[in-house]
Point group: C2
Chain length 398, copies 2
């Protein structure tokens, strides 16, 4: 142990920022201190932590010579970008929790870290309390990684759990998730799969050394799911889960997607319930690893942020080794997937070119096919698919 | 990435040593090389790796100036101790897979690392491919850890899985485990819980900063289990698992044990089957984390050993921070446990002082009680319990 002291300038005091504060209050480390907190509305937060100094001015944080560490835990991706960039440029180490910002700007952020010889850590951003990124960086760096598959969003998973385990309907489940604080008041990010795709992008950089922009990745959430789809899953003894998926389908091609999967009981992530996250890492040598834990909430995420902070005590940095690897795969949407597809009109059926249709059902109020489509086509038609009255889910054979 | 080169002197070429070699053959890293292998019987191994240089002389390894790294993967704990000590004393970094040796000599090994300013890594020793130690060291170092509970031995778990899921009897299951290479020809270490207790000791140093010698820890395996016990578990809709368990029962007391647990379906480790390992880490802030993966086998463990080796490329060391913590708990056996206890004679029933007996059954050929006993008493009576025709298992209320 060294005697380094971390003096934090904190941006944001929402669930996670407050969580970090609560965790620090509880364990009282002698080398980690919050010096000042920048928030939009001081009056809203002052009573939550009377002894902390709040400000609305970012300058006040950056001009405080005492502060040697920036922690950014705000919602606004553009503001987060400005803060993190300013901090790195000033040579200050940063912890960021904004996955949207990170997913959009990782290449630049990696460059800034190198240019200014400082660290940006964000393990807490990807799966809350599960240290996925650090394990991919450090521990799974020798195996030939095949795939990473995970339930990356606690809110949507909470809703699916209530539907599949407690027979709740979709809107009641969503309302409950919001009431319990698992879902944002605007749940589009969670339900639509966007939050998952941001995390998938971050994970993929560390798992495979490949950075892919979100608009290239097929992303389809659970917002279109209806009672028929739920019954279909139950009849097949499966559950629908929203899954972020990165897989090397051969030596050169890496596919990525966020979409519902119809999972059978044999799958590890079948049993990930409620607001939990779970990630299955598959490698050539160790078969499968499964990591599971709380993906949201103030305490778990605050504690994960603190782990990112104290990593600085021993100068930990992500090395991004795989980004520079000679044999990394290329991102591709060139892959056939077997899906369940519920549609309403012939026009919407014809949105996709199915091959090998193995199941087909038609009635007045419920129509579906099970067959193969290309991921490229799914990606290209995603906007139409999202806005039509259709639902689709990966439907693996086993 | 730096251009450091690792030139390995390898001791042992059994399942794990050969696994390491196979993994290296497959991924061909340009900075990790096996220079020479020391084995007891060269003729036995030469054909497995014709291009490797084998020797029976440890001196040949230690006198080879080219070698800058020692990997010790042998069965014999005393020989492993001599090798690792010699290497550390010579300032060479070491990876060791011998949990028995580590469990017995960790304090000395920690001192040697400091004295000679070099690293000893052993993540692969504790749970094969699951990076438990490194996560406890680095990531879970801020949370207030409450407990670590895990299935730490693949062989005994394989046997229990065959019994509980496939209705196999004990001796057939053991024979199959041996045939598949999951159990040693002398299975006492696995079945008796000794392998688990060695791993638990190592994990406890990194989880709680407390080192406890194996003879202080109550260790009771599955060797005495019979058909009655299996039926009891099934009637209660539980499974018997052999569990290594470390828990802070209050701020100052840490209890440790390896014993069978009657687990209900709600428990994460209930579902850890076959040769897999699974560890549940419980902290004050993040509730529970579950890590799961292959705990044995050449490829998974060889790959884990390689992760320990390449950690040296960035000078990674365990910091043993918690060992120096001011508020670490003290090991204690002062705790009441609720157990299921099958016995044969009144004498053997009276071996233990039960309190709060909540269930009791008596017939000619099957007698048991469910009640509370102290861990201290279990520990003190362990030799008698092991050699009598009795079986016991933790039987938690939920």
């Amino acid at each position: 142990m060294n005697d380094k002291q971390i003096y934090i300038g904190l941006f944001g005091f929402g669930t996670v920022g407050k969580g970090l504060y609560d965790v620090l209050q509880k364990i009282k480390p002698d080398n980690v201190h919050i010096v000042k907190v920048c928030v939009r509305n001081v009056a809203k937060h002052r009573h939550q932590a009377p002894e902390l100094e709040f400000t609305t001015s970012a300058d006040e944080i950056f001009n405080e010579p005492h502060i040697n560490f920036i922690v950014e835990l705000i919602d606004d991706a553009q503001a987060a970008y400005d803060i993190v960039k300013r901090a790195l440029t000033a040579g200050l180490p940063v912890v960021s929790g904004n996955k949207k910002m990170l997913a959009a700007h990782l290449p630049e952020m990696i460059e800034l870290q190198q240019q200014h010889d400082t660290a940006l850590l964000y393990d807490a951003s990807a799966c809350g309390s599960i240290p996925v990124i650090r394990n991919l960086e450090e521990y799974y760096d020798n195996d030939l990684l095949i795939s990473v598959k995970g339930i990356l969003n606690g809110s949507s998973n909470f809703i699916l759990s209530k539907i599949f385990n407690e027979g709740m309907n979709y809107s009641d489940a969503l309302a409950l998730a919001q009431k319990l604080g698992f879902a944002e008041s605007d749940p589009t990010l969670d339900i639509g799969g966007w939050d998952s795709v941001f995390k998938l992008i971050i994970i993929t950089v560390h798992a495979f050394g490949v950075y892919v922009e979100s608009d290239k990745i097929f992303t389809f959430g659970i917002g279109n799911m209806n009672e028929h789809d739920i019954r279909f899953a139950q009849e097949k003894q499966r559950r629908i889960k929203l899954v972020g998926w990165a897989e090397k389908v051969d030596d050169n091609r890496l596919i990525l997607s966020v979409m519902p999967h119809l999972l059978s009981k044999q799958k590890y992530i079948y049993s990930v319930e409620d607001e939990f996250n779970g990630v299955v890492i598959k490698g050539l040598f160790y078969y499968k690893q499964f990591m599971f834990g709380q993906g949201a909430g103030g305490f778990p995420t605050g504690s994960a942020v603190l782990s990112d902070i104290t990593a600085q005590l021993y100068d930990y940095r992500y090395e991004y080794k795989k980004l520079h690897s000679a044999h990394k795969p290329e991102f591709s949407n060139d892959h056939q997937l077997r899906i369940y597809y519920r549609y309403d009109t012939p026009h919407n059926l014809n949105l996709l070119n199915f091959k090998n249709i193995s199941e087909s059902y038609y009635s007045e109020d419920y129509k579906y096919v099970v067959g193969e489509v290309s991921l490229q086509e799914l990606h290209d038609k995603a906007p139409q698919l999202r806005s039509a009255d259709v639902f689709l889910s990966l439907y693996p054979e086993d």
